[in-house]
């Protein structure tokens, strides 16, 4: 069974401004703020009017002091609006409302841990935003959401190649096969053929 090298695994790239968009909506978690600042600097250089049409939702998700500088920079740029959140979940709730009011011509930029990107994309899917309208850069932890194909439970914050399912407690091999609909990677019982023979567990998604 292929574990890595699977073509459904999402591939991310450093965020670049999309000049084709008329409105820009940016979501950032923690270190993702740096990627967003970079894009905004690029916009300021190439299309300054775009800044006024840009809305930013940001959750530091770290001790306030670390993010203070990033937040201060956001406030100085002249964005259309800046909204700050205590955690990713409340950010995503507001994101859904914002999408409901958004118009065609909007571009979405997401920067943060992969799991957050997945959850944001899941919401974006409901509004028929497709890959031409979304750019994402992975920043922060690579920890994964893993969907157990046997009991259908999702285990969060998985940093290891093999994990115990939060639902059925089987040891699962974490594969690179990824579902946008579930915003999770596939977990399959690792010792199904030889019960008890679990390979060494390694921390790989840090």
């Amino acid at each position: 069974m292929l574990i890595t090298g699977i073509k459904s695994k999402p591939v991310y790239a450093p965020l670049r401004a999309d000049a084709g968009g008329r409105y820009h909506l940016m979501l950032g978690i923690g270190p993702g703020g740096i990627a967003l600042l970079r894009v905004l600097a690029e916009m300021r250089g190439s299309a300054p009017d775009a800044i006024k049409n840009t809305r930013l939702l940001f959750a530091a998700n770290t001790p306030a002091a670390d993010a203070a500088d990033t937040v201060a920079q956001f406030k100085q740029i002249g964005l259309g609006s800046v909204s700050l959140f205590d955690d990713p979940a409340s950010l995503l709730d507001t994101f859904r409302t914002v999408l409901d009011e958004s118009l065609m011509g909007t571009r979405l930029y997401v920067a943060g841990p992969e799991s957050f990107i997945g959850l944001a994309m899941k919401i974006a899917l409901q509004f028929d935003l497709n890959k031409d309208e979304i750019r994402a850069e992975e920043m922060g932890t690579l920890a994964r959401r893993v969907y157990c194909v046997h009991c259908r439970t999702t285990t969060e914050e998985v940093r290891t190649n093999i994990v115990r399912c939060a639902g059925c407690e089987r040891w699962l091999q974490v594969r690179d096969h990824y579902s946008r609909r579930l915003a999770a990677y596939m977990g399959v019982m690792v010792d199904a053929e030889a019960p008890g023979e679990v390979p060494p567990v390694k921390e790989v998604f840090v």
Binding site: G21, M104, F127, D128
Partner: protein, 320 residues
């Protein structure tokens, strides 16, 4: 993948619905039901004229739920190569025609949150079928129909009755024009726009949508245009070992077909890529009229879409 499976149909009714447009009803020649289809599909109608054969695509405008007959609308083209004239002048009630199975290159996007339909003139035809699928469903839609003057608005009473407020008419004769920018700058996320009609209308809509930030995947268009005419030229088919003469008013594809060689095709309009043919030798230049090959491909000159493209050349050899 071409005429291998055609259906025999009989014309059961003809109506002149505007000065330029005739409405044809077609029933299955053996009296059975016609194949089901999706709104936006077209059929290729094969017309056997005295001098030559015509194969023209026409959108199905009938309801996909009513398979006793198909309905098409044919606009009489001023500079015609004969196809529309054939339909207008030589086809009567009772005439038999061959048609290919419906093909859909202009389907509604099933996960759209709203549909904006824009029709110019005869371009209304695919939308007539599509609104049958949209009517009564949960997804909002609107139809913007632009014509020269009220007498040129085909199927207007049918549309008005069915669509009410969802239909907006624009008459050139009364100086009414679609406000493309206004229309396309104010649509919710997940809207798709569909345009069918003259090239000018399509270009305006596509350009305006892009300027408003719409991605290409939310912009759909279908154009009915006859293959452009051009200078006559000769082409040698390497595998068939035949020289084919291409007269000014016959497309390269039609000329090859007239010589008895089959080329796979789908849309016959330079959009789908199905008839893409390799150019083996060329002394001259290709005249690319298609929307399929990239600019780089066109410049390279290694491929041609014979349905709409031509050549100005002393020597041309194709891999057919």
């Amino acid at each position: 993948m071409n005429d291998a499976q055609t259906l025999a149909v009989e014309v059961t009714a003809i109506e002149q619905v505007t000065p330029l447009i005739k409405h044809f009803k077609l029933g299955s020649a053996d009296g059975g039901a016609l194949p089901a289809f999706s709104g936006g599909s077209h059929i290729i109608v094969v017309m056997r004229g005295a001098l030559r054969m015509h194969r023209n695509p026409y959108s199905l405008l009938s309801s996909p739920r009513d398979l006793d007959h198909y309905e098409i609308g044919v606009r009489r083209m001023e500079e015609s190569r004969g196809g529309s004239h054939f339909m207008h002048d030589r086809v009567h009630v009772g005439s038999r025609l061959e048609i290919a199975h419906p093909v859909n290159l202009f389907g509604l996007d099933k996960i759209a949150r709203k549909h904006v339909l824009i029709a110019g003139g005869i371009g209304i035809t695919p939308f007539l079928a599509q609104i049958e699928d949209l009517h009564g469903a949960a997804v909002p839609y609107e139809l913007h129909y632009s014509v020269r003057s009220p007498e040129h608005a085909a199927f207007l009473s049918r549309l008005r009755e069915r669509e009410g407020e969802r239909l907006k008419m624009y008459y050139d004769s009364e100086g009414q024009a679609i406000d493309f920018d206004g229309l396309l700058s104010n649509q919710p996320l997940g809207t798709h726009v569909y345009v069918c009609g003259p090239a000018g209308l399509i270009d305006r809509v596509v350009a305006t949508a892009k300027a408003c930030g719409w991605p290409g995947s939310h912009i759909h268009w279908e154009q009915f245009s006859a293959p452009p005419v051009g200078d006559a030229f000769e082409v040698f088919l390497a595998r068939a070992k035949l020289t084919v003469h291409v007269p000014p008013d016959q497309s390269l594809l039609e000329s090859i077909e007239a010589a008895g060689v089959e080329v796979p095709y789908l849309c016959r309009g330079g959009v789908c890529g199905f008839c893409q043919t390799r150019v083996l030798e060329l002394d001259g230049e290709l005249v690319h009229n298609d929307h399929f090959l990239s600019d780089a491909d066109k410049a390279q000159g290694k491929n041609i879409m014979p349905c709409v493209s031509r050549a100005r050349c002393k020597h041309l050899v194709l891999d057919l």
